[in-house]
């Protein structure tokens, strides 16, 4: 009995009313093992995570921790039995300072400090108010707090989603070192590069059941995607002739020397109707400011923007919208009316464009909305209220509603953050279709692998300046990564 797994969950099932979220989920974690938990949108991954961490009780099945039936009725209970989670959203209290947050969870201070420093956060004071700290720091504090609790099993749910690359490195190194010292880790993620570096095995969920347990070896990506999807999708790139035709004429959006102090220094590019232009940048290189200026949220400190050859300046988001620029935030909560239906959310920008105050043209609206819903492939069980959709489906609504509206210029800011592979692969064709309908799309993504899938070319921003422009055909991850770090050795590739 020397190799009793640290965690052994089997036959876990959970239903919400008529919806079976989980039917037969399995997961084992041995000492010193890092297991990736993967699954597409709606596969039941988040339900499974909630059950493991005690936020939900399963209908059937059992969760053993070190051979003992775990009584994980609440996050407290899970913690007591040795499983400590780091959730996707920060679980620190914004109105309390760091010290009070530690006291709240009975976290020992010295180990916490040790881990904070080991994970690469410097200059943290215990009197700092959580609400004043940047998101990336909060994620690290969450992890440090979990490590300081000396868990048997650590569950990391999309831990790296909001982290800049250097912090991701530190997290992966630290977690791997802890695992080598005997910690068991469940790693929930959509990022293959991280999984293949960090994990020993991958457990794949589909439609509420565990469909496979794969060892991490070369080629595992394809196998895992196959298991998650049950099908494969191929995205072709557009040929050069089409692109050339698209790029002829006056650009829809011409940006010249745009600056917004202090981060955005000098950015210029042309975006044509019918084109998807990627924006590639490490965290905090000025991309937030670029999108803010284009959406009319803040005023630039220099440079010009012109729309269809006309100089434009946006003093208010309404000006940007009037000029045909539609901003889709990465945070879907900012874009949707959570308590209203999918239909209404899709129809909203469409109705809002009407010039007069007359009655809505309901029949016309209904037809276009129906088309959009069909395109989005949203599960009809939950169309009543947007807040009941999964995160991925919500994000599809934020983008897909512009299909119904007929948008001119779409500003997508990291639209696939924290979304599973299957939904991502539904979002890329959506973006492409918008472009083929004649929209100009500016697409910032924090995930480099997406660039060749969704974009026709990409501008790389480093230190607030455009350092490179790369055609999609040449935009493999290594090239983009070098460019994003400001390494200009491969000039020839562009």
């Amino acid at each position: 009995m020397t190799d009793t797994p640290l965690l052994d969950a089997s036959g876990v099932a959970k239903s919400f009313g008529a919806v079976k979220a989980l039917t037969d989920a399995r997961l084992t974690v041995a000492r010193g093992e890092v297991v990736a938990l993967m699954g597409a949108n709606g596969a039941g991954k988040s339900t499974f995570v909630k059950i493991l961490t005690g936020a939900l009780r399963p209908d059937r099945g059992r969760v053993l921790i070190r051979g003992q039936e775990a009584r994980v009725g609440s996050p407290r209970g899970a913690r007591r039995s040795g499983l400590v989670p780091v959730y996707q959203e920060p679980s620190l209290i914004p109105d309390l300072d760091v010290m009070d947050n530690l006291r709240l969870g009975d976290t020992p201070v010295d180990p916490f400090r040790h881990w904070v420093e080991a994970l690469g956060i410097k200059g943290l004071r215990l009197t700092d108010l959580i609400g004043d700290l940047p998101l990336a720091t909060l994620r690290i504090l969450d992890l440090a707090r979990a490590l300081a609790a000396e868990p048997d099993v650590l569950l990391l749910d999309e831990m790296t989603a909001a982290l800049p690359t250097d912090l991701v490195e530190r997290v992966l190194e630290t977690v791997r070192a802890k695992a080598d010292a005997g910690l068991g880790v469940i790693y929930v993620s959509h990022r293959f590069t991280e999984i293949s570096r960090l994990c020993d095995r991958a457990t794949v969920l589909r439609d509420g059941r565990t469909v496979g347990e794969l060892p991490i070896e070369p080629g595992v990506e394809d196998r895992a995607v196959e298991l998650m999807l049950g099908e494969t999708i191929d995205l072709g790139q557009r040929d050069a002739a089409t692109l050339q035709a698209v790029r002829r004429g006056t650009p829809r959006l011409a940006v010249r020397g745009l600056a917004a102090a202090p981060k955005l220094q000098d950015v210029s590019f042309d975006l044509h109707a019918g084109e998807v232009l990627g924006v590639v940048a490490l965290e905090g290189q000025g991309q937030d400011e670029l999108f803010d200026v284009l959406a009319g949220f803040r005023k630039p400190t220099g440079g010009t923007v012109s729309v269809d050859g006309q100089a434009a300046s946006f003093a208010h988001p309404a000006d940007a919208i009037a000029a045909g620029l539609s901003y889709v935030p990465g945070n879907r909560a900012e874009a949707l009316l959570a308590q209203r239906s999918v239909r209404e959310n899709i129809a909203l920008p469409f109705s809002a464009r009407m010039r007069d105050w007359g009655p809505l043209r309901l029949r016309h609206e209904r037809a276009r909305v129906a088309h959009a819903i069909e395109k989005l492939q949203i599960d009809t069980r939950a169309q009543g209220e947007v807040q009941r959709l999964s995160g991925g489906n919500q994000q599809k609504v934020t983008i897909g509603r512009w299909l119904a509206t007929g948008v001119e210029t779409l500003l997508l800011f990291d639209p696939t953050r924290g979304i599973d592979v299957r939904t991502k692969r539904q979002i890329y064709p959506l973006v492409r279709e918008l472009a083929e309908q004649g929209a100009a799309v500016l697409f910032y993504t924090s995930e480099l692998a997406e660039v060749p899938l969704a974009c026709d070319r990409a501008v790389v921003i480093f230190g607030g300046r455009v350092v490179d422009v790369i055609e999609a055909g040449a935009a493999d991850e290594a090239t983009l990564m070098r460019a994003a770090y400001g390494l200009t050795a491969q000039e020839g590739a562009a």
């Binding site: 609440s74 959203e89 679980s91 620190l92 209290i93 109105d95 006291r103 709240l104």
Partner: protein
């Protein structure tokens, strides 16, 4: 030091405002002195307790519309009991009744998951009815020592007894809680309920406890009402809206997680003294409430603007 100033800027600002208003009162009415302070403190006493209770539930992220009704229940319970039995056990029973009512409010909110504003609106009527069942019309009697406790001064003539009693009662309840994990949990739940749950805070219990504390403060408020009038009055007084007003003016954010009890208590005095000043200036009583409302919005607006600017610089 500057960190301390920034953290308590709102409370300090309120204290300065109160001092200015006291100065104005003295200027308008040169005779305003010790007895004026005493009557101000006495009038503020029930408001202060209602406000303390309201502040705790607002900090936890809720609201309690039944504070005035709970105070009425406690006032009549005190008046009825003190007619028949010794004062101290009666006082203990009244405190227990208040605590129990608060716990019931909290438990209903947590168990039924009906929004707090709806539950406590319903309980406003329930407790109102209970008060009338206990005592149909104003009557009963309160212990003499309780009445005496709210009159006169402690030591020097500038410390009115009701003020001292209020400070001691509120500090006795709140300071130990604020220093304990319960206090931390109350702020945590009010600040971000989901994050608190994930941090291992027993969210339901924390809410129930906060409403219990509110009930306890309402019991003190009811006792002070009985002490001031010498009888029990079953019809709730104007304490609900006044307490919400003082809580907001006192820097507690509706929605929870921010603020403390000191600010709201100072705000109670500010609102009372504004009323005194307007009366002294012979302002039409109908205009008085308009002025009070305008001042409230003005102060909160100014305070928010200053806080924002302070944060930016």
């Amino acid at each position: 030091m500057s960190a301390f100033l920034r953290k308590h800027a709102w409370v300090i600002g309120l204290a300065v405002l109160l001092a200015v208003l006291l100065g104005i009162t003295k200027a308008i009415q040169p005779g305003f002195g010790a007895s004026g302070l005493e009557s101000l403190a006495r009038a503020a006493l029930p408001f202060a307790f209602a406000t303390a209770g309201m502040a705790v539930v607002v900090i936890v992220g809720g609201i309690d519309l039944s504070v005035a009704s709970m105070m009425a229940v406690c006032a009549v319970t005190a008046a009825v009991l003190m007619e028949r039995m010794a004062g101290v056990p009666a006082l203990m029973i009244v405190l227990g009744v208040g605590l129990a009512m608060g716990l019931i409010n909290g438990a209903l909110i947590v168990l039924t998951r009906v929004p707090d504003i709806v539950v406590t609106l319903a309980m406003l009527f329930v407790w109102e009815g209970v008060a009338l069942l206990i005592l149909e019309s104003p009557g009963g009697n309160t212990a003499d020592w309780l009445e005496r406790a709210t009159r006169g001064f402690v030591g020097i003539d500038l410390l009115p007894k009701p003020f001292v009693i209020m400070a001691i009662c509120i500090a006795l309840v709140w300071v130990p809680i604020r220093r304990s994990k319960l206090g931390l949990s109350i702020y945590a739940v009010g600040s971000d309920e989901m994050a608190a749950f994930r941090s291992g805070v027993p969210v339901g219990w924390t809410k129930v406890a906060a409403y219990g504390i509110c009930g306890l403060f309402c019991a003190m408020g009811g006792l002070s009402l009985a002490a001031l009038t010498g009888i029990g009055e079953p019809v709730p007084g104007p304490y609900l809206m006044a307490s919400v007003a003082a809580v907001v003016l006192g820097g507690v954010v509706l929605g929870g997680g921010k603020g403390g009890l000191l600010g709201p208590i100072i705000a109670v005095f500010i609102l009372r003294i504004i009323r005194t000043i307007l009366t002294l200036m012979a302002v039409d009583p109908n205009v008085t409430t308009i002025v009070e409302g305008v001042i409230m919005v003005g102060v909160v607006m100014l305070g928010t603007a200053l806080t924002l600017r302070g944060r930016r610089s």
